[in-house]
Symmetry: C2
Subunit: 380 residues, 2 copies
Amino acid sequence: MPDFPPNFFAIEKSDPLCPARAGLIKTPHGLIPTPTFMAVGTRGSVKAVGPDDLTRAGSRIVLANTYHLYLRPGLEVIQLFGGLHKFMGWPGPILTDSGGYQVFSLSAIREISEAGVMFRSPYDGSKTFFTPELVVEAQTALGVDIMMSLDECPPYPSSLAAIEKSLDLTMNWAARGRATWNPRQGQALFGIVQGGFYPATRAQAAQRIAALNFPGHALGGLALGEPLAERLDAIEIARAELPPEKPLYLMGLGTPEDLVEGIKRGADLFDCVLPTRNARNGQLFTRRGRLNILNARHRTDSRPLDPDCQCQTCQTFSRAYLRHLCQNREPLFLRLATIHNLSYYLELTKTAREAILRGAFAEFAKNFYALRAAGESEDS
Amino acid sequence: MPDFPPNFFAIEKSDPLCPARAGLIKTPHGLIPTPTFMAVGTRGSVKAVGPDDLTRAGSRIVLANTYHLYLRPGLEVIQLFGGLHKFMGWPGPILTDSGGYQVFSLSAIREISEAGVMFRSPYDGSKTFFTPELVVEAQTALGVDIMMSLDECPPYPSSLAAIEKSLDLTMNWAARGRATWNPRQGQALFGIVQGGFYPATRAQAAQRIAALNFPGHALGGLALGEPLAERLDAIEIARAELPPEKPLYLMGLGTPEDLVEGIKRGADLFDCVLPTRNARNGQLFTRRGRLNILNARHRTDSRPLDPDCQCQTCQTFSRAYLRHLCQNREPLFLRLATIHNLSYYLELTKTAREAILRGAFAEFAKNFYALRAAGESEDS
């Protein structure tokens, strides 16, 4: 990989007891201290918050989606603006999903072949053909900092034969995306490890992706309904086959516990709709567990959501006011709740990072679980 | 009115050619330079924007509604917080509508008598009886800076007999509210001039309200579907009967043209849902007229909504991006569009004020109409 900056990722400190590490990813739009959480801005907007809110919440990188942006507003519109950063007014790093997952999950009509995947637009029914090459070219045109390969995500559970067949397709696509990628533009391309939950296929997936020499790796096909133990095994099996000097992204994870367990297993990047979607539904994260803001016990509660939280929402508004906004479907609620949940996630990864830097990750994880066990969670 | 601060309202400069004036209202929560527009925060939240956005947009006073807050979250909740300012996190002045208009327009089941009005809560069907006394006490409990009398707003058109009967009721209520008010707490109470669109009854309404010696006056019962000429006549007739040294609030007005015509006729305060509601529907105000952001011609337009606007939205985002957000129902659109429309309204009143201060209101009004005539309005 002679053309890609050798200092794309630097590990600042590794934990002595587990694979957790603190690192720095260097992109054309700034540094990303890791581990960190990426807020999901599917259509070029993290739902209900602006770039100003994201910056104040501690976001260092946001995620967007190639499939959605390709369909609307279309690449040609975003290219007129010189890329997605300027279009959406976010000056920091951006990672895009390839869109493969959305093609499979959102398009009723699709046809998969080795060449790629044909799908119909949910907006106007027009046909589009996504190939591994086109997906890299599209992300290049978007001007994002980290691009993802096109992959196929097999459902859980799948037979061994189905996983093996799907893995061959994903590997074919990964190699073609890798060949399309031009490292000289400074945009990184990550390969995605699939392989299901059979230890042998997951290990093989990681080995084959590692052999393609991507700047970074992602673990896909997780959080599909598999038991936690299987998920953690899959993460550990894949990590053992991947070069530790490259960044590792756990796609679509997850809960606060998923983040802590992922960091413990050497993951550097996370994304999930959970904090933003839950916020819009009145489910708020605190250091002591989740709370449902509509619960009657918050009606007269003048405390902030989380007394230890420094976010804009907690610094200004009470639980009673937030409950009032949520109960009356005031649009401001969406913003304030999203700011809080994102701040919680970002503070969690930041605190984990600081603990790793001072060699105290185990203590951090212990405190994390202890506070929640002692907490006030209303989670069902 | 010996107990109320004599410097509640000061006229800094009057226009030599028309009743327009620049003034300052002094409240316990700060100064309000007039003329100005009050953003509507019915339930203690201006829809889709936070106090931070309001401050940056130039808001100096916001409006809330007694009827809505009385029902939800209830006065007792807001009193626990020491008043509405702290509950909603807005440190500046607040004016509350009495809620009379909402009782009449939103409650299917209501009974009006001289004593007051009985209505059923739209939330749980429970009975509430609003009297002029209770409405002043409720607003006192909310801790707002400017309170409004309970009034009855007759429909347009109404017979002379109906207007006369309604006016007697409104005057009875105004006198009782006035008697309930305790000026020593520093909260102002405004009387509302009704009287319909018969010149004699409107003039009589103003004379009778003026005789009650309120700190300020409002004109109600406007913008009910009457022709513009009738509305402007009603404003002029009422103003001629009111002491010019007290602030004048045109309730529920209106369009940018309504503001300019109102200022020209001596009004100091305005409120209307138009800028915030239109924003949420994609109808945006500019110095050159309105635009519908969903119009296809904005699809690739990299310009801001209004090149002369200094708001957060225009400083950061293009028409193309805003169209993309609106088309995809991204919640961020609500905030960005509301910030812009409110900024437009607040800049309009601020510019009018500056023109009055330098003796150039006529020129300001001429420029206002000239830009719109030359403009790009898509308004239907």
